[in-house]
Symmetry: C2
Subunit: 358 residues, 2 copies
């Protein structure tokens, strides 16, 4: 069991063999309500049916549209109609979208209720399930609304990952790769070595290992800077560019894969600014290419102006210069102000035109 | 200057001579956006016009309808369209409704931005401006949504109270009375003495004095139990009944006056449970009657069933018994579980039928 310290409330991460064991472990001190990803209902309906009360369950599609401020109202209203009270518990079963919705609702309903999270995607297990954040869209503005409010417990099982499509696995690996690059050269190389040997047979074991290792990297950052004002910014590595790529491709690139493209962009920009050698960048590109292709095609076909606009409007940026996480190599990331017109724009143009099509 | 400690961020309360001095004191380190009560715009338009940017201003009517989850979306969207960024500041000028809207939006926009509050009603100045809470309605459910997120600064001037209608003053005095009853006999008697001598001429001085004294009472409760899980519950004195009376009269009774009616109900119930003498209750009723009449008429005409339903559905209650703040006299309040059917229902019936009409 992993314990995470939080300024809001401390919480635990516990591993289980399967979903049934998790549901069995939910004690009944609290009246329990459920938010469940519809695809989890599809894959694990027979297990859920026996264990949960369908009159206290809301099924939600895991889509960008659902994690909007406008769509929160009917979900909260339904919970109130189902009789939820301030001493109740909300159990959220799903990936990042369900987590965002569940986190936000739990933080504002009665000014905060107990919630427990069963993350069912690799991305949610390895990265987002710890760290307290929710991100909610409003109209066409992405992720501009949110709260800090960690679950009271995170309940993990790698068994649910077996139903994920390959690109969902790769998307999760994007954040795993990011975290091990932040950790340093040895860890990153061990990861790449494991990933190159990944197969259907060893997948559960390997992913479970790197879920734990990812959390171990992330834990000190979120514990020392929960509100993301300082050192935690490092975890944003690859994200300023990645978010812009997602936006410009209308979310055709899965989040974690956009992050890998963002990591490569940040490394390329770092090499242009002589922070890191071009050879190191080329080596990283070769290692990471299998984990992003063929999504570079989406980026090549996308509208550059939307990418530039998204970067300028990123909520982390406030002037002519952009705060980027750049790198001097694995384990050596730092926040750096970079001029948008002179440095970032030409680097992105060249990265997409020359580096991805080469 | 008063300093308030908070688990979210510490903040200050500063007093000024007039609204103009407050606006002059806003430094320009932050890009500033404004949420302003439309009635403040009406009374102080010429002062505001010179000092604030109308392209970064949203005017809001201070009504129950406006402080609903459904109405937050257009306000946040307008702020985003006006170009608000995460390092901006939101200045909120108004009473409780504006504070609820401003607090909620500031806490969730970019996961929390800086906000400063200029409370313009006695109720907001003496009570709600410190303590971090926001309360938002959703559909027909009142105050079920909210956050804890104090302003970064509270900027006070008693000069704005001169435009308030008498019943707005009395409503604010309801919370002032509650706080001094919690503080104890001597303070409460000093307050009643001051109030009995209140006139147009000394109003500003007397209200300013009791705004400060109210904050002094409230401060230790919110500092030691910001999230309202324990000792801060005492501040709920009169509110379980008061909220139900507001609800059953469709908010025809101003909040603070409903609280005074709630205080009398709690004291009457305390006397029926032999916690306090009937004579003390009768004495308190005589002292407080001028501060609530003729609103007892609204209560007498209201639907009892709505009152009972509201109490049972209060977000603080979770079973057959109701958590009430009862009293053994000024300064001696305590949280007490009271059976709803056997004790509360007949006490409310008798209070309204026998005590208010006598």
């Amino acid at each position: 069991m992993l314990k995470i310290k939080s300024q809001i409330h401390d919480y635990t991460v516990e591993k289980f063999d399967d979903l049934q064991s998790i549901l069995d472990s939910l004690n009944h001190q609290h009246e329990t309500f459920y938010l469940i990803d519809r695809s989890i209902q599809y894959h694990f309906g027979s297990i859920l049916e026996d264990k949960i009360d369908s009159h206290r369950t809301i099924l939600i599609d895991a889509s960008e549209e659902e994690k909007s401020f406008e769509r929160l109202q009917p979900v909260m209203l339904e919970l109130l109609k189902q009789g939820i009270k301030r001493n109740a518990r909300l159990v959220v079963i799903g990936g990042g979208v369900l987590q965002d919705i569940g986190c936000f609702i739990s933080s504002v309903l009665f000014r905060g209720i107990r919630w427990e999270l069963i993350p069912t995607t690799l991305l949610a297990q390895a990265d987002s399930c710890i760290g307290s954040k929710s991100s909610i869209n409003i109209a066409s503005y992405k992720n501009q609304i949110g709260t800090f409010y960690p679950p009271h417990r995170v309940l993990l099982t790698s068994s649910v990952l077996s139903t994920l499509p390959w690109d969902e696995i790769r998307s999760g690996l994007g954040e795993v790769i990011k975290l091990q690059l932040i950790q340093g050269k040895t860890d990153f190389e061990e990861l790449i070595n494991d990933l190159n040997g990944l197969s259907k047979e060893n997948q559960s074991e390997i992913l479970s290992k790197w879920v734990s290792r990812s959390m171990a990297v992330k834990k000190p950052y979120i514990e020392s800077d929960e509100y993301d004002r300082n050192i935690r910014n490092i975890l944003n590595y690859g994200h300023t560019f990645g978010h812009a790529y997602e936006s410009a491709t209308h979310y055709a690139i899965p989040h974690g894969i956009a992050v890998v493209l963002g990591i490569l962009t940040a490394t390329y920009l770092s090499s242009r600014l002589n922070l890191e050698s071009h050879a190191s960048y080329q080596h990283l590109k070769k290692l990471l290419f299998p984990w992003l292709t063929p999504y570079e095609g989406e980026l090549i076909r996308s509208d550059r102006e939307i990418i530039f606009k998204a970067i300028k409007h990123d909520k982390k940026n406030t002037g002519d210069s952009i705060n980027c996480i750049l790198t001097r190599g694995p384990g050596k990331m730092a926040k750096t102000k970079v001029n948008f017109e002179d440095e970032i724009k030409p680097a992105i143009n060249d990265f997409i035109t020359l580096e991805l099509t080469a």
